[in-house]
Amino acid sequence: MINKVVSNADEAIKDIANGHTLMLGGFGLCGIPENCIAALVKKGVKDLTCISNNAGVDGFGIGLMLETRQVKKMISSYVGENAEFERQLLSGELEVELIPQGTLATRCLAAGYGIPAIFTPAGVGTEVADGKETRNFSGKDYLMEYAFDADFALVKAWKGDTAGNLIFRSTSRNFNPIMAMAGKVTIAEVEELVQAGELDPDHIHTPGVYVHRIFQGEAYEKRIEQRTVRKKD
């Protein structure tokens, strides 16, 4: 067994430097690497390019890194719900590349699977297609999209073991497993870190070979963006 355990978020991110490209797992505020984000804010590393489906909200998630002006560019599919984000974007402090959510996901998968490019119909005939190669297969047009190239992937799992194997819980899975596969260096924070052998090999979502560092996170806030409920009859 190859041991991937590091002591905490600070140690896990110690070689993330100014100008790096990071992938951050999560959908909205669900399944985001809270501990790694806090450590990045503390470290103060800047000029980061962040690949993440969303950009957090004011005061939470990637929103925290926006407040400290650490992000140079966001690559996302949807960036609403964040006033500071909007301010920086409109003032030209922040660069944003918007790409379709499925394209974002598939470019992660392609990186993790060693596939340099794939074809998707998303964005054909729209401004997303500008400058891209279009190709027809069986009468339908597709865009060629490239695998992402990220220095680090920061992901959050529910359980992990010392060998780096990860299991995600419910819809907090989202982009986490595919970003875990895509990072040149992948850092996983987990709610519960167990010994190798305690997880069922059949239930592992991300094999440890894709994970370079793992630690047990602390004080997960797991903020809810839209609390929707129904009343009991």
Binding site: S77, G102, P121, T126, T171, R227, V229
Partner: protein, 219 residues
Amino acid sequence: MLDKNGIAKRIAKEIKDGYYVNLGIGIPTLVANYIPNGINVELQSENGLLGMGPFPFEGEEDPDLINAGKQTITTLPGSSIFDSAMSFGMIRAQKIDLTILGAMEVSENGDIANWKIPGKMVKGMGGAMDLVASAKNIIVAMQHINKAGESKLLPACTLPLTGVKCIKKIVTELAVLDVLPEGGFKLLERAPGVSVDFIKQSTAGKLVVEGEILEMLID
């Protein structure tokens, strides 16, 4: 004229037994409330869930269990969880039978614009471009006319496009319409109390009216 719930009710009648359905944010989300009894449907949420259930009871919210609108939800027996690549994989592979989403504009050749208004803060397309480019069967829930009375069913979209030649059916506060393969909006039904003439006035794109147009049945 239909309200939002009326549009959702009418769309719900298009759902067939055994359908996997993706519901967009807004009016489409309301459709889930009107799926007829005896019709078995599974709802897909593109953040990675099949078999989406209703909102949780108060106090039972799970921050790890949300839908694509970031709302707390529940699962149902038979549901499954997967990552975002598989989620859009099943969308692209047309395993989802029906996609219902909103639009700002639709053109008479089936183009749709629903993600960007020049000059306004752009939030992003989310999964909309993937959905419209991939789905075999899309119903658009939208307002026929804006607050100024201007038509949103156009000869050509004026806003940046989300997808081209992909919309086949539209349900508005005024009517149900098909987009014809050769171009044009074919009027199928009119909302209660709405005249064909009013629909004609309210449709800037080519409107095709053939035979008697019946008032739609909702309840």
